[in-house]
Symmetry: C2
Subunit: 644 residues, 2 copies
């Protein structure tokens, strides 16, 4: 059974390496044997029925294994994970092996029916759902306890026996993708379908959103420019601008839902019923029967989860928010103190001291962010969500609220406590521009440069002058395993979210924000693409039907921005001049306008359907067909029971 | 084929009369023959395959027909309309004739498997979906045009050939129901399941909501009483009261959704997919293929409908609202003029003149209401909605907005323009109490008294002294055909909605409103029950899964009431006294509190799931099973296509 993998059999036709697993150095032999046996073992024996081969490197230790699967195994796996594919009659249906012939482009000898990223997703799913049966511990590691239903791979990862699992790049495909994506200078759409088939739906959806959002910001930017060119303080025109912004942001968020539905319908993920899937590997609980699917799997009481969320997580988050506000207040005090000190002394030292509070504050915020992120991950994991999407949503929500406060609290303070519009505009511009520059640098260019250096070193090491597509498998694996890991789209969305905040929350004070946002996003598309293609390991594809809790976050931001903009306009001297006699009238007018805008927003969100009619009909048709099929099945069962 | 129905064969076992149709006097013989032929004709020939018998009355003219159906026909009809019933394994499933044995309480000789109201619903559905085929007009009436797909019954009704269709009461059942419902004096729940099986889901849901709403108001009423008993003007306690009210109203509306889901799941309507049904009889369009179900039916472009809604209906409604406001302003002017006149003259004539504006206004409002209602019905019908529920929702929304304005605009004017809290409290109390008394009288007691008189006259006429359960069929039909028609739950819900407005919009000004509402609702339950059982013809059952647009209406009202209460509290002298220096601070504080309350409301509505977990699981299970069945079907089809 055990075959070694060497330089020579790189192109052995029966084994296409898809996923790499790296074990820790010095992993015990019995552990490796047990683990590989579980991987290749038949499904009936609790195995994953995949193929595995060790990669023999020059220095001879076997810590890296390549995982593949037969074509048949992958097709069966596609059925298990519930992939949805297009049929010959152009409808989208769940793939099943027995009805494989009815799917578009299917042929038994066509190994490209499943994309490589789909195959890798299937393998990942199978590996993660390799669960302990009667083992009490991992052989060779008595401290690594197992219990029935525990995900083996997860236990190996938490105990450090398994260092990492990652999918291999397809150098040929990647080169093609790079070319169409950012290789030629052109104005146009990104090749989202190609991105999706290489990186999966989650990442394609992020790039889709980034592109859409950039286009959607252009009208705001265009309208914002004349405000900068002609007159800064023309507030009655700002009212128009702000009103346009507020309604426009509602429209773009509603329209995005429709675009997203069209896209994910085409990709099949809109129809994928992920709630019927097996639970995420981190989910634990006593083995029981899932009440919906009737499958045996860990079950965990939802009341317990609710209690954990509302009695522990929510109070913890609130406490952290309070603490963060408290730190901000200290910062403002320090700032004031430094200013006073400088006024009194007027020395070089005192002018240097002016920068100290900001630096301290920046460092403290960074530390708090990291600690909080760690705590949020721990808490969300402890909440024990059954679905990956639910885990992600809860985690994102926690981190989001905290980041929102850290980013915007000082701006809110300047705007609504200090009433200093000039300082607000200044801070806003500084924050927006520096954060954009820093982000682009830290996120893509720096890692790209480091990566380039690493590749050069590697090449020198292997004394080869081949271009990267000609790399041998061993070289490729060694190169890729050292690359950084892409930790999901969270940070990318967060950046967009904060940008949206800068653009919309105080749009009537600083209309140029949209211009900077558009400029940033155009380069962001390229730098993010670069990052995905050249800096990081290939990430596993993750099917998804929408951008999840981010939609809610952006919508909430647009509601908050109605409030802030109305207040800002109400506070402006020009508007104040319109109500010379009574400040009351001013405030009441502002409140009235704000409520009207909010009402219009809600009506608009209610009136614009979330899915285009065409997609609605297709979904209704599927539902109708399913219900009809269920009826048919029932009738057949009844007929059979009559015969007996 | 044609058998006559006389006094003697009342209890002929094969024909159970379910529905009565009354034709106009002097309807041409050829029309009657054609119509009855279509009713009894085989489905394959475009008929409804029902049974029909003329009812021969004493004076011998045949204008009344009784419609029934064989047991088998009704079971097949239950499958067509998609009734959902409980299976032997306690799951709820769509009834199909071939799987009939798997359903609870089914036996081929058990004619009570379908309730009488279900049978009547099926017959109504079949009659309404009797559509013209190649007929160009109704035989005998060349002016009554028909085109393929046009509902015959609807054309007959609009041309006055068909006077009415109504289901028969079941005197035995009704007596039992009356006894358990309101026959004995007891504190307790209404027999909702019995109401549902006699009157159908829509009416049962109304009574369920009425009961729930009454219970939900009790805490508000209990907290409101001490405010009346001890101190009227203690505003800081009113803040507490108002805050409680606002959050409480959110909770009760969210919890109602859950209770409603539990109830309608038990009744099977939560699972009934009404969007897959045949279109409502009033729906017209060229015959085409429904893209979802693949059935041949009239189709109508949804874009055209949208255009009609947004370009005609919405502007029309806005215009009417404006006109209504204008009339109100004239009323206030007249009122002022009458007051001035009285001040000047102080005569008996002038004091009588004081009442004139109110009387004129009341009459004008009543006239406007009627005209508007007629216009709204016309417009909604012209919008051509495919589903009855969609038609109802659009109609309700139109009428609702207008009624809301007429009822509350004057109160808003008094509160926020005249700033007269005393007058507000007075008007509120007067409006609430008089409208309640008038309603109870006009809605139930008056018709009940008229009905009683009519029955007495009838009995004198037929010289019989029998109690009503012993009435012969002819007597019963003659009695019932003269009874009033119940035009659906709209007016009942509207009454509750306006009551909710009186209770919540100005709750901090008049806390006693909740007490009156509770008292009114307790008697309302009895008078509405009386109305349903004794005053009106039996209405056709209408399956429904929720209270539709009323949920939205109540929720919107509770949002508006947050705003009004915050303003009212802000305007109170006591709260004003807390901010002696700056009115600005007061207004800003009020605005802040209001936004906080609104935010809490939205978070609460978001966090409380609409369906209890148990129901969610059952629905998910059904969806899972349907998708699995679809997969199975696909696999079987693929296997068959392979064999060929």
């Amino acid at each position: 059974m055990k075959e070694t993998w060497s330089f020579l059999d790189t192109f052995e036709p029966n084994f296409r390496p898809l996923v790499v697993i790296e074990l820790a150095k010095g992993t015990k032999k019995e552990t490796i044997e047990w683990f590989t046996k579980r991987i290749v073992d038949k499904k009936a024996n609790g195995g994953a029925q995949l193929l595995i081969k060790p990669l023999v490197t020059e220095n001879g230790d076997e810590t890296i294994y390549l995982i593949g699967a037969s074509h048949l195994r992958l097709l069966l796996g596609a059925e298990t994970v519930g992939l949805v594919k297009e049929c010959n009659d152009n409808s989208m249906r769940s793939f099943t092996y027995s009805s494989r012939k009815t799917f578009k482009d299917f042929a038994d000898d066509n190994h490209n029916f499943l994309t490589m990223s789909e195959c890798q997703y299937i393998i990942k799913h199978e590996l993660e759902n390799l669960r302990a049966r009667d083992e009490k511990m991992i052989p060779g590691y008595p401290q690594a306890k197992l219990y029935p239903g525990k995900s083996i791979v997860r236990r190996l990862l938490t105990n450090g026996i398994l260092v990492q699992i990652f999918p291999l790049h397809d150098r040929e495909e990647l080169k093609k993708l790079r070319h169409t994506w950012y290789g030629r200078v052109k104005i146009g759409y990104q090749p989202l379908d190609e991105i999706r088939s290489y990186f999966g739906e989650t990442i394609a959806l992020y790039f889709g959103f980034l592109e859409y959002f950039t286009f959607a910001l252009i009208p705001m930017a265009v309208i914002g420019i004349p405000y900068y060119v002609f007159a800064w303080e023309d507030y009655d025109k700002y009212v128009m601008f702000a009103t346009f912004n507020l309604l426009w942001s509602t429209v773009i968020l509603e329209v995005w839902k429709r675009i997203c539905a069209v896209m994910t319908y085409r990709w099949g993920t809109l129809l994928m019923k992920r709630q019927f899937e097996e639970p995420r590997p981190g989910f634990h609980g006593a083995l029981g029967i899932n009440p919906v699917t009737g499958r045996e799997e860990p079950v965990y009481s939802s009341i317990k989860r609710q209690l954990r969320i509302y009695l522990v997580s929510v109070p913890f988050v609130c406490l952290c928010l309070y603490f963060s506000l408290y730190v901000m207040m200290i910062y403002f005090d320090l700032e004031q103190w430094a200013l006073d000190y400088h006024e009194e002394n007027k020395s070089t030292f005192s002018s240097l001291m002016l920068y100290v509070p900001s630096i301290i504050y920046a460092v403290v915020i960074e530390i708090m962010n990291r600690i909080y992120r760690y705590a949020a991950e721990f808490l969300t994991s402890w909440e024990n969500h059954r679905l990956e999407s639910s885990y992600q949503n809860h985690l994102i929500l926690k981190v989001l609220v905290f980041n929102f406060l850290n980013c915007f609290a000082s701006l809110f303070y300047i705007a609504f406590v200090l009433f200093d519009m000039k300082l607000l505009r200044q801070s806003l511009a500084t924050l927006l521009i520096t954060s954009q520059i820093l982000n682009q640098f830290a996120e893509s260019l720096l890692p790209y440069w480091l990566q380039k250096r690493h590749v050069k070193k590697m090449k020198k090491h292997t004394h080869s002058l081949k271009t990267e597509t000609d790399l041998s498998l061993v070289e490729q694996v060694n190169l890729e395993k050292e690359m950084g890991t892409y930790f999901g789209t969270f940070d990318d969305y967060l950046e967009l979210f904060l940008q949206f905040g800068y653009v919309s929350l105080f749009s009537c004070v600083y209309p140029l924000a949209a211009v900077f946002a558009v400029l940033n996003n155009v380069t962001e598309i390229y730098s993010d693409a670069l990052k995905m293609c050249r800096v990081y390991k290939r990430p596993f594809a993750e099917p998804t039907a929408n951008i999840g809790v981010w939609q809610l976050a952006f919508e909430t931001m647009s509601v908050i921005s109605v409030v802030t903009n109305c207040i800002l306009i109400g506070m402006s001297p020009q508007v104040n001049a319109l109500f010379p006699d009574s400040k009351m009238d001013l405030v009441l007018t502002v409140a009235l306008v704000e409520h009207l805008l909010l009402a219009i927003k809600f009506v608009m969100a209610f009136v614009i359907p979330d899915k285009p009619r065409e997609i609605q009909i297709k979904l209704a048709k599927l539902e109708f067909e399913s219900l009809e099929a269920l009826k048919q099945q029932q009738m057949k069962l009844a007929a059979e029971s009559l015969k007996e």
